[in-house]
């Protein structure tokens, strides 16, 4: 195939995709001359080029379409049929192009059927009295997705007819079909429709949406470049590692430079792989248009953030799932116009696609304002399919129930339409998305609509990962999944506690399930250390902590696939070679959640619901801590309020002025009996339920902890006593629900006292200024893990406000490039004030620039560190920390 032809093919298929989209827009907005002019121009170009290259079939088709569009321009009314006809013509052109691409020559065949229809449509004022194509019923052609909205006009050929002609056509030697008396619908010669369609869809992916100055580069070339850069990053990391060990300043500077260049190169190459997500959406307007016609629904497709870029590899993977989900929304979600009207909604349903960047991930939302998920039907179906028992299903929250739609073969659609309802799809969608490390989340409200939220990593090749260790072995955890790091040690601020042997951590008033990595890895004995770091991880809406022994740093790692012999281990998503040459395994948080959660899916994990949502929703099951206070009756309190459970030796309880107190983590904690009838023990062990508010704690003395149950919390009887919220039936037994707020005034005095006792933590606090949320999110946990308090600001102005507000800051870490003013200007402003004249500053530079060094020196910037050199930053901080200590 010569270059000219190849160029033509790529260009034309781009044009056609644009025309596709534009036509659908035009149909909705027939008076928009700009769109029409645009379409007209594109089709005209196609026609012209075809003529030039000697492609008569294409030229004839394009010409006929152009003529009809010319009529539109002259004021002919734009009808759905006319647009459908043009779209059908475009499809034919695409088929021919695909054939042309395969064989290098225009396939034989005739397009008189379409051309005649087009011409007739164009000259509609003078209808021909030619035989009318039989108005075939739409069901005839099962492959077709076209439903006619009115009877065919004279001379028109229904698409079903066409489709049949396609399929029944015997082959290249076009025989006249026997079954159609209509002389005009001669069967086109080339029949092979499916491969043509797929070839075309494969090609459409690489087309940029807007016309900027570009050159075409073979994808393989880019892939190769990417591999080489990945290797370069590895080598750079190795060099950095070596330079850290040997303190030779001689090559530190050129190495720093190499590091910068590599980082920039990496970014540049990554950018070449980036494509706007709009490329994956290009076909959707057409899909929705055809669907709304077929389903007789009115649907509007709103697309936002089409320019959001992501890696082409990722784009390829999510393209089909996205289309599927939009089809699903149109079919299951949006109601028929009259149903919508009946419920007071506008007749026209809306499907909204929204894409935006968030940290190192891209978030895509597919929202419809339809009927929402039918939870009852899903519950029923789950029981029918034996996925869960009736009792289990009843106890599940709506969020848990919604997840059933991702089970294979799960469809609640009553009728199987040609669009969806075959029960294939959502599980595939989920698998595809998880394959690339993404997550899918559903939010649905009955009668209000459903929103799917997909979060996927920007790129697959290089990811930032946190390097952790467990039992002397290192592992990488993708930074995307990491929310924060918490240091845990017995007796410190954060301690691992156990409920019936299951480790949990209280974190800001909530209990976080803890998964010791060593235990999941099976390298563990029976004993699990309670010391180390908790990597707080979020998978979908599940939040849990991975307990590791040590945390090193974050590193850009090149993800290498797992060997096929190891791929069955769902805990690992791949492996990588670190800077020091060691191979480490990459932990897959999704897999980890699955492994731990298997059996009861979500119940072991805390669902990170919005608190307001949870309170609104009465159906939501609440996890309750059931205990015995005084007397026989059972008491309960929502587990989410409980900070921890303790058992203390009764002789450690001190009585100060008749008030029981206990020394608890270096402070005095007031105790209160859970019932007046109950006495706090003087000997033996006393069970406590500890509640905390900020740094203050209170111990509720109870007789015995009975159980932790999950149940619907329905307060049935409002008690007169202020220490109870009321009573509820929990697991079939009447239980008093304790009002925690009642006890607080009882120990009010003690609260105040313990507050005064509080000594300030010795941690140094850092103000981190950088405009990239991603960068701040990435650095904050690392700094926190190293024992710093971190305040963050996005702009210089914000930083000045934070400082001005009296926030105590020991060190300022700022990027040099900030959106409002440069980091240097910020430092200059600080140096001007007496308060901050001596504030130590670490500046983060992206580029290596001698001018910057000079300026940094002038402004008494303590250290200038490369922006992505986290080691450098940490060592600079610790040096600074040392000198601050000395000074103090």
């Amino acid at each position: 195939m010569d270059d000219l032809l190849r160029e033509f093919l790529t260009e034309t298929s781009e044009h056609l995709d644009t025309v596709d989209v534009e036509l659908v827009r035009f149909e909705q907005d027939p008076n928009n001359e700009t769109i029409l002019r645009n379409i007209f121009r594109l089709v005209h170009t196609i026609k012209g080029t075809c003529g030039f290259l000697g492609l008569p079939r294409l030229e004839a088709l394009a010409h006929a379409a152009e003529t009809l569009m010319g009529k539109f321009r002259d004021g002919m009314p734009v009808t759905t049929d006319a647009v459908s006809l043009i779209l059908a013509t475009l499809d034919r052109i695409k088929d021919i192009l695909a054939e042309l691409e395969r064989n290098g020559v225009e396939p034989d065949g005739l397009d008189n059927d379409l051309i005649d229809s087009l011409e007739q449509m164009a000259s509609q004022e003078v209808p021909l009295e030619a035989p009318v194509a039989p108005a075939a019923e739409p069901e005839v052609g099962t492959l077709s997705y076209q439903v006619l909205e009115r009877a065919l006009l004279p001379g028109e050929v229904s698409l079903d007819e066409l489709e049949r002609a396609f399929r029944e056509a015997p082959g290249p030697e076009a025989r006249a079909p026997k079954m159609t008396p209509d002389p005009r619908s001669k069967p086109p010669a080339e029949t092979d429709k499916k491969p043509a369609a797929s070839a075309e869809s494969g090609e459409g992916s690489d087309t940029p949406i807007s016309k900027v100055q570009t050159i075409r580069v073979n994808v393989d070339t880019l892939e190769h470049l990417m591999t080489m850069v990945s290797e370069l990053v590895l080598t750079r990391n190795q060099l950095l590692e070596i330079s850290r060990r040997f303190d030779d300043t001689g090559y530190k500077v050129p190495l720093q430079r190499l590091s910068h260049v590599t980082a920039e190169l990496q970014e540049g190459v990554m950018r070449t792989r980036m494509q706007p997500i709009g490329n994956a959406w290009q076909k959707l307007p057409r899909v929705v248009r055809d669907l709304s016609a077929e389903l007789s629904k009115k649907i509007e497709l709103v697309m936002q953030g089409a320019e959001t870029e992501l890696d082409r590899q990722v784009l390829e993977v999510i393209k089909d799932p996205l289309t599927h989900m939009v089809r699903n929304s149109a079919d299951h979600g949006i109601e028929l116009p009259r149903d919508r009207k009946a419920t007071g909604k506008p007749e026209r349903g809306t499907i909204r696609l929204n894409a935006y960047h968030e940290g190192g991930t891209i978030t895509i939302e597919i929202a419809d304002d339809g009927r929402g998920l039918n939870y009852a039907a899903i519950r029923r179906k789950a029981v029918e399919r034996g996925v869960a028992s009736e009792a289990e299903v009843e106890r599940m929250s709506e969020a848990q129930v919604a997840k059933f739609i991702f089970h294979p073969g799960f469809s609640t659609a009553n009728a199987i339409t040609s669009v969806s309802g075959r029960g294939v799809g959502m599980d595939v969608v989920k698998t595809n998305i998880e394959l690339i490390g993404g997550t899918v989340d559903i939010r649905s409200e009955q009668g209000r609509g459903t929103t799917f939220t997909i979060k996927i990593p920007l790129t697959l090749a290089i990811v930032a990962a946190l390097i952790v260790s467990s039992k002397d072995q290192r592992f990488a955890i993708p930074q995307v999944a990491v929310l924060e790091l918490v240091r845990v040690a017995p007796g410190s601020e954060h301690t691992i506690e156990r409920i019936n042997g299951t480790p949990v951590l209280r974190l800001r008033e909530r209990l976080l399930p803890i998964v010791p990595l060593s235990k999941v890895l099976g390298v563990d004995g029976d004993e699990v250390a309670d010391e180390g770091f908790v990597v707080v991880t979020q998978v979908g809406r599940q939040r849990f902590g991975i307990l590791v022994d040590g945390v090193f740093h974050t590193e850009e790692i090149v993800v290498k696939p797992m060997s096929s012999k190891l791929r069955h281990i769902q805990l690992f998503s791949g492996n990588t070679i670190l800077g020091d040459g060691a191979v480490v395994l990459i932990i897959d948080p999704n897999g980890l959640a699955r492994m731990v959660g298997s059996g009861s899916e979500d119940s072991q994990f805390q669902n990170d619901e919005n608190p307001e949502q949870a309170s609104v929703d009465d159906e939501e099951a609440t996890t309750l801590l059931v205990f015995r206070g005084g007397g026989e009756s059972l008491k309960a309190v929502p587990l989410s309020l409980v900070t921890r459970l303790e058992e203390i030796a009764a002789d450690t309880i001190e009585w100060l002025g008749g008030r029981p107190l206990v020394q608890y983590r270096g402070r005095l904690m007031p105790l209160v009996a859970s019932d007046e009838a109950m006495e706090i023990k003087r000997e033996g062990l006393q069970a406590l339920v500890v509640f905390s508010d900020g740094d203050l704690s209170m111990g509720l003395a109870v007789e015995e902890i009975v159980d932790i149950v999950e149940d619907k919390l329905e307060i049935e009887l409002v008690a007169e006593r202020s220490d109870l919220v009321g009573s509820a039936v929990v697991r079939g037994r009447a239980t008093e629900v304790v009002n925690v707020a009642h006890y607080l005034p009882l120990v009010h005095e003690a609260w105040m006292r313990s507050a005064a006792n509080r000594a300030d933590a010795a941690a140094k606090s850092i103000l981190l200024v950088d405009d990239s949320a991603f960068f701040r999110d990435m650095l904050t946990p690392v700094l926190k893990a190293s024992g710093y308090k971190v305040h963050a600001a996005a702009r210089a102005e914000e930083a000045l406000q934070t400082l001005g507000a009296g926030t105590h800051v020991d060190v300022l870490v700022t990027a040099i490039d900030l959106p409002d003013r440069s980091g240097f200007e910020l430092v200059e402003a600080l140096r001007g004030s007496t308060r901050f004249a001596a504030l130590p500053v670490i500046a983060l530079a992206v580029r290596h620039d001698s001018r910057q060094i000079a300026q940094a020196h002038k402004l008494r910037v303590t250290e200038l560190v490369a922006k992505f050199d986290r080691h450098g930053l940490l060592s600079a901080l610790s040096e600074l920390h040392g000198s601050l200590e000395e000074a103090a």
């Binding site: 890895l521 190891l566 281990i569 805990l571 060691a582 191979v583």
Partner: protein, 162 residues
């Protein structure tokens, strides 16, 4: 029965009558690997163990920037591990496009052997061994078992992680 057989009875012996084998030793037993399957021989250092993997897999190692899966020939043959393995030798192999390192006790010389000399496995050879062996060569002072590389690297991995 085949032309190769007929050839070997002739006087002129061509290269095609011979095959070269890299010999390795495991627990004193000499085994041969077809040389065209062996990519390199290296010292396996710094092996990263893979928790939850099947027992045959010792771990992963970095061989000049590539991640190689290390498989223990001992464990494949059902021989217990060496108590002290200070310098583990490995033979680099490829199987279905992936790189493997087969850990052995020692790597010996390369032997050029006549194809005809290959005899079938003794019938009472342990089934585990027989499954991995293509046959036996009788050398002067010892026996050489010819390994079937693909069989050695084709083992079940689907035991589900707990």
């Amino acid at each position: 029965m085949t032309s190769a057989n007929a050839n070997s009875h002739g006087t002129s012996k061509t290269v095609a009558d011979h095959l070269e084998y890299v010999t390795v030793t495991v627990q004193g037993q000499m085994l041969g690997l077809p040389i065209d399957r062996v990519h390199d021989v290296f010292v396996a250092a710094d092996i990263t163990t893979v928790p939850l993997a099947s027992s045959e897999i010792v771990g992963l190692l970095n061989l000049r920037g590539r991640v190689v899966t290390a498989v223990s020939l001992r464990r494949r043959l059902g021989i217990p591990d060496l108590v002290v393995a200070d310098r583990r030798m490995a033979v680099g192999l490829e199987h279905r496009g992936e790189s493997y390192g087969l850990l052995v006790d020692e790597v010996g010389e390369v032997l050029k052997l006549e194809i005809d000399g290959l005899q079938p496995n003794p019938v009472h050879l342990d089934a585990r061994w027989a499954g991995l062996s293509r046959g036996v060569h009788q050398l002067q002072d010892r026996l050489l078992i010819i390994l079937d590389v693909d069989a050695v690297l084709a083992f079940e991995t689907q035991k589900q992680a707990a």
